[in-house]
Amino acid sequence: MHKKTIVELAQGLKDREFSSVELTKYYLDRINKSDLNAFITVTDDLAMIQAQAADDKIAAGDSGILTGIPYAHKDIFCTKGVKTSAGSKMLDNFVSPYDATVSHKLNSEDLVMLGKANMDEFAMGSSNENSYYGEVKNPWNKTKIPGGSSGGSAASVAAGLSVFATGTDTGGSIRQPSSLCGITGLKPTYGRISRYGMIAYASSLDQAGPMTKTAQDSAIVLNAMAGFDEKDSTSAQVDVPDYTANLNNSIEGLTIGLPKEFFSEGLDDVVASSVMAAVKEFEKMGATVKEVSLPNSAYAIPTYYIVAPCECSSNLSRLDGVRYGYRCEDPKDLEDLYLRSRSEAFGDEVKRRIMIGAYALSAGYYDAYYLKAQKTRHLISDDFKKAFTEVDVIMGPVSPTTAFDLGSVKDPVSMYLADIYTLSANLAGLPGMSIPAGFAQNLPVGLQLIGDYWSESKLLNIAHQFQLQTDWHTKEPQEN
């Protein structure tokens, strides 16, 4: 059952092979038996209520494709009446009084939320080792990291603890764990999905997206998540097409761009060969390949690690121990309240980024850091604009390596280097995907697709066509 896709489960529900209640119980049981630590909160009771409601709708003939489908919701999305922690001690006691727009949209599809997925604290991390609730294990090898920050979401889908999960991607947080866990992850164009109620890490980069087993499932979930939201001024007033409509289009004649900068030193040979094998597969399907250059991509890491910390240093200021969240014991005055509440509740990586950001924004440094980073960001965007005049899609690795050992990367800068191929799409606001493209050392390798603005339909079409020809996405980790 847990090997089935959304499309297959929806058919089973429709044909009354099983009910949503049965399906939900089945997944809850798997979650309870799992030792991956993929969830921060399991919402058993709520899930059963939602499943029953979904079954009623199905019985009444009033159901859609997602009715009664169980999923995992990243714990960064506010969910009314349910603890929303963002993986932090700071919000361990925070029960959101309101629903994020994404939560609301998924609820209105009559989906069943199994629980809130584990994540790096405030989405800051590439290994899911920065969670207050402990590290998440990679289902393919429990001594390995699942990737981050949406590590709980990726592990949940890969291990069949939910048929899909939501994720958010600020610098690769959907694509990188999808790659390392062997699932299909999509980060849409910035502004495609509302950020309202999604706890902000770096506002100009954050974007939600679906994490699924297949591209087809991804299209179905994106249909439910996307759209303009008047509560989010940065969400785009761009029509939402039916993302499943073009899945079966032929990709013959597709021009694939391979940025030479994505295949230089630092990329593991085993990853490179899986990626190149996948590209060959596309050539077999009638695509042509062209080398392109993204000359400023070398600056993606420094640019990102200025912009994101600057924004996060301000976004996290509201977590001050005054109105909600963690407050230290017996503060002796206001300064003590601020200092101790924040010192005691934030993890090291969050503190590090807040300090970098506050420093880079301070008087006398602003021009040298923030403004410079904004200029570089434009240059990175311009590289892509130029490339997309020549090619339809850009392909490359998602991560320079396969999943590394838990606890093995201790130096933050080495950890930041793991994001080298994913950051550019966030800085430019472009849509990107990771799809399963092979294995190395028994660990999944993902292929990254980066498209032009609003080209989600195209990316999903390309990914789906690939998945029709390959079976990497159907591989399952061995259970225990």
């Binding site: 001024s233 200021s317 909600y324």
Partner: protein, 476 residues
């Protein structure tokens, strides 16, 4: 040493929008604490600001009214600092790209007029309120005010005295009410002034070190606070000291200013563009629409009063100094277009004197504009004389009824019956032969004696004009 005072003002005008600048919560004043703060105002995790277009509209109106350049692309920034009544840990404001650029406004001090430069005006959100005297061990926070739209209007350091500063502040105060963007209520904090004050030796170009005075909530206090500060700075310099750049709090009770924080202690606000809000784009069309809907501005109204109604410069200036006063006057004019000067005299004379004496605002005047208008009509149509009208005014003020009711009830209607007045005149002439002789021998002044006698006989009700004519014709 002769010193010159240099003053610039920063005025915070609360824009009278129904909802807050970045949320749908109400801006109504005086509600239960924290009853008007929604998720956005509370700064909950995940919430996002959405700009209230009405606030943009009102800011543009101000810009147009001071002939300013409107920045058709302007940007919101975050001003970062921690304070418990600042829920997000930053205030959304505008730094480098304010909505309103350079403009100017003319002020009058006595017979002199002067142009004061407006440097800029920008939109921002207000913070909440901290209450420190409600509980023994805690401070309380009321976030009802958090997110209320403010327009911060920054002047050039163009003012040279406390009087000029007050004239400028009053002018802006009147203007924002004229154009309907702020209720101007200083007690409720809808209109607040901070003053940057420095002094320099007369004739010196370079500005002295300034102090910023805060917490001034009336024009009277503005004048006092500035004068206090000028004295303080003079004392320091004349004693060989140096003024330090600092923020000083005005204490109206003790009538003193005291240091709040020095430049060294000032926050580094780490401004940067708010990534949750797109730059504001104002189209030419939007600008044209707002321009066409702009009400008559005080300076335009003043010109009209002079050119169309024949008022003098002083009267027109006083009548347009406050919107409420101008509105009152214009309601009176509706029934008295030909008596504009008389209306003006009454508003600025009898009415203003009574209001001042009783410390009543014109909006709450016991004599309404309609009441006074009718009274003027009755003077104009010779029903009563100006002298009698003063008694009628007092009776209206005391709530005895309308002008017509009072005139009727007290029998104050002027005698306009020629026959009746003639009979009285004849009698007076018959009884006062010596005075008649004096008049005939050229003593014009004696005419007043006859008028007085006639008025006495008619209890002041004889139409003065008619009486004069009759007396002259009978005596000669």
């Amino acid at each position: 040493m002769q010193w010159e005072t240099v003053i610039g003002l920063e005025i915070h005008a609360q824009l009278s929008t129904k909802s807050k600048i970045f949320s749908a919560a109400s801006t109504k004043f005086g509600q239960e604490p924290n009853s008007q703060a929604c998720a956005v105002d509370l700064g909950l995790p995940g919430v996002l600001p959405v700009l209230n277009k009405e606030a943009v509209d009102k800011a543009i109106r101000f810009g147009l009214a001071v002939n300013a350049h409107i920045n058709q692309r302007n940007v919101f920034d975050r001003k970062n600092y921690f304070y418990p009544d600042l829920p997000k840990g930053y205030q959304i404001s505008q730094l480098d790209w304010p909505i309103v650029g350079e403009g100017e406004i003319e002020i009058s001090i006595g017979d002199e007029t002067k142009i004061i430069g407006v440097t800029r005006a920008h939109l921002e959100e207000d913070a909440g309120k901290s209450v420190h005297d409600m509980f023994d061990d805690y401070s309380a926070i009321d976030l009802n005010r958090a997110g209320t739209p403010l327009l911060e209007i920054v002047s050039e350091p163009d003012m040279r005295s406390a009087k000029e500063a007050v004239a400028y502040a009053k002018k802006i105060h009147a203007l924002v009410q004229y154009i309907g963007i702020c209720d101007g209520n200083m007690q409720e904090g809808s209109f607040r002034c901070d003053a940057n004050v420095s002094i320099r030796p007369m004739g010196q170009e370079k500005l002295g070190t300034r102090a910023e005075l805060k917490n001034i909530n009336s024009f009277k206090f503005l004048e006092k606070a500035i004068n206090l500060e000028v004295e303080r700075q003079q004392d320091i310099i004349e004693d060989g000291g140096e003024v330090v750049q600092e923020t000083r709090l005005y204490d109206a009770v003790k009538n003193e200013t005291r240091s709040m924080r020095s430049k060294e202690e000032a926050n580094d606000y780490r401004y940067f563009p708010d990534p949750d809000l797109l730059p504001v784009e104002i189209s030419d069309e939007m600008l044209e629409n707002i321009k066409s809907e702009l009400p008559e501005l005080p300076q335009e109204k003043k010109a009209r009063f002079i050119n169309d109604l024949g008022l003098n410069d002083y009267d027109a200036d006083v009548l347009t100094s406050q919107k409420s006063l101008a509105d009152y006057f214009e309601i009176m004019l509706e029934g008295n277009t030909s008596n504009a000067k008389l209306c003006a005299n009454w508003v600025m004379g009898e009415l203003s004197a009574s209001l001042n004496k009783n410390q009543i605002e014109i909006d709450n005047s016991p004599v309404s504009a309609q009441d006074l208008s009718l009274l003027i009509t009755r003077i104009g149509d010779d029903t009563i004389s100006g002298k009698i009208a003063k008694d009628v005014f007092k009776a209206i003020w005391d709530g005895e009824g309308s002008a017509d009711e009072i005139i009727d009830a007290k029998g104050l209607k002027q005698m306009t019956d020629t026959g009746a007045i003639e009979a009285i005149v004849d009698e007076i002439i018959a009884n006062n032969a010596p005075q008649v002789e004096q008049f005939k021998s050229g003593n014009e002044k004696i005419l007043g004696f006859f008028v007085g006698q006639a008025m006495k006989a008619t209890q002041g009700k004889a139409n003065p004009k008619l009486l004069n004519e009759l007396l002259r014709s009978k005596l000669s």
